[in-house]
């Protein structure tokens, strides 16, 4: 067997010439490189094998369950919350007003604990609210239609962004009226009989501040709302009045002892917020009351 390479043929195609010469090139990566690569791969493979190979079906099921655990817990918690808040409304039979003993009239339903949080606003429309608040008629029949002003579902959110003025003004007023026991000229038995939690009052206060509704602010404060209560972003009623440019509400709140330095969760003070919004009149009002 001849080990001498075949003669070079210049007429060969370039690829063929390349292949022939390439086959004669004994250059290879070093053994150290080869070992390093294969060793690295073995390490990774062992880790993957441990991760994948050791699993039994029940372990996979358990793993899947653990992965879904937050969703399961969340769903169960939501269901329980809904059950606690909603179910009593339907499960406890309500006797007609006329058939109830005199001593029990004008008493809140016993199934709703006094300390329980109010139902989430989104779960209860104004229509339902109005039904609940409508005065007990002399007979079992109830008004079939609620007041027209209470048709819209209540929005739970408070926003920095200036909403349309009308909506911003209507929303807190509806709440205020309900809270004060005056909804479209009717007395809300529920509002009177079962005082709303302070959190709800504070929320309504903040909405009123954001809308610049001084009457509603007064009503809430009279009902005992905490003037400096914060929302989930750490914003006080004063802060919401500032960011929404409600000069009157700012003055009104400051005059009634609102903390002028109540910073939000991000550490922004009302004065900083006013400066950011370019409202010098609000800034000076804040400074007059000791804002820094």
């Amino acid at each position: 067997m001849s080990t001498v390479p075949p003669p070079w043929d210049p007429s060969d195609d370039a690829d063929e010439q390349y292949r022939r010469a390439s086959d004669l090139d004994a250059s290879r990566p070093s053994e150290a490189t080869r070992r390093a690569v294969l060793s690295h791969a073995e390490t990774l493979a062992a880790a993957r094998a441990r991760r994948n190979g050791g699993r039994r079906p029940w372990m996979s099921a358990l793993g899947a369950m653990l992965r879904w655990q937050p969703a399961i817990v969340g769903t169960v918690a939501s269901a329980l919350l809904i059950a606690v808040l909603i179910a009593p409304q339907f499960l406890v039979p309500r006797a007609p007003e006329s058939s109830r003993p005199e001593s029990l009239r004008d008493v809140a339903p016993v199934t709703r604990p006094a300390t329980a949080p109010p139902p989430p606003p989104v779960l209860r429309t104004e229509q339902q609210e109005a039904k609940a608040q409508a005065p007990a008629p002399p007979g079992p029949a109830r008004p079939s239609t609620p007041p027209a002003t209470l048709q819209r579902a209540r929005s739970p959110s408070e926003s920095y962004s200036p909403a349309p003025r009308e909506a911003a003004l209507n929303e807190p007023r509806a709440d205020m009226n309900a809270a004060a026991g005056v909804a479209a000229g009717v007395t809300s038995a529920r509002a009177v009989q079962a005082p709303r939690p302070s959190a709800s009052r504070a929320q309504t206060l903040r909405r009123a501040a954001a809308a610049g509704d001084l009457a509603a602010l007064g009503a809430q404060l009279a009902e005992g709302a905490d003037i400096d209560a914060r929302d989930e972003q750490g914003r006080s009623a004063l802060m919401l009045a500032v960011v929404n440019g409600r000069v009157d509400a700012v003055e009104w709140l400051l005059a009634r002892g609102a903390d002028p330095n109540a910073a939000d969760a991000e550490g922004v003070t009302p004065l900083q917020a006013a400066q950011r919004n370019g409202r010098p009149e609000i800034s000076s009002a804040l400074r007059r009351h000791g804002a820094r």
Partner: protein
């Protein structure tokens, strides 16, 4: 079934599930082609060794995410080229493709011919391999890169175009010029 009979994609899938032998088979199958692509492009053994490790480390690391939507070799040579370009762009300026274009120094001493072929055959083989290296070194970098991707990576013009982010016509032109020039240079040797 022996590992040697399995496709590259199947071997990658096995490795991703923890089969180190599948990776070893894959490495043996493509080691030389990857090496030649890198070494003939960078013209420096030490730099090629380092790149070789980087490329195959990346292959091993990325096996989990490898999706056999394209051929394994296309993916492999895309990694190889990207690593090489990274090296050229700054991490190792001494292996610049431009610098080693036409005037790259011959790489001597790393061609170890078949010891059993006798001194004459060994010298002949060394000379021819060296001629090829020198011819490749004298090609413009883009032409050499495209040619090596096609000849060592066994890639189509479309695949080379995709990897090098050049148009199909540009790659076709580079390949045509590269082959013409290579033929001329190797003819000179002959």
């Amino acid at each position: 079934m022996n590992d040697a009979d399995l496709s590259d994609e199947t071997l990658m899938g096995r490795f991703a599930r923890g089969d180190a032998g599948a990776f070893a088979a894959l490495y043996r199958r493509h080691e030389l082609r990857t090496w030649r692509y890198l070494e003939r492009n960078v013209g420096d053994r030490a730099a090629a060794e380092e790149l070789m490790q980087e490329v195959w480390f990346a292959v091993a690391r990325e096996a989990d995410r490898y999706q056999p939507t394209a051929r394994f070799t296309t993916w492999l040579f895309a990694i190889a080229r990207n690593r090489m370009v990274d090296a050229v762009r700054g991490r190792r300026p001494q292996v610049s493709l431009d610098e080693m274009g036409h005037e790259a120094a011959p790489v001597i001493g790393r061609l170890t011919a078949d010891a059993g072929a006798g001194p004459l055959a060994a010298a002949e083989a060394r000379d021819r391999a060296q001629a090829l290296r020198e011819a490749l070194a004298r090609l413009p970098p883009e032409q050499r890169d495209a040619l090596l991707l096609q000849l060592e990576g066994d890639l189509s013009v479309e695949e080379v175009a995709a990897i090098t982010r050049a148009s199909f016509e540009t790659v076709k032109s580079r390949l045509r010029y590269a082959r013409t020039r290579l033929r001329e240079l190797l003819s000179e040797y002959a």
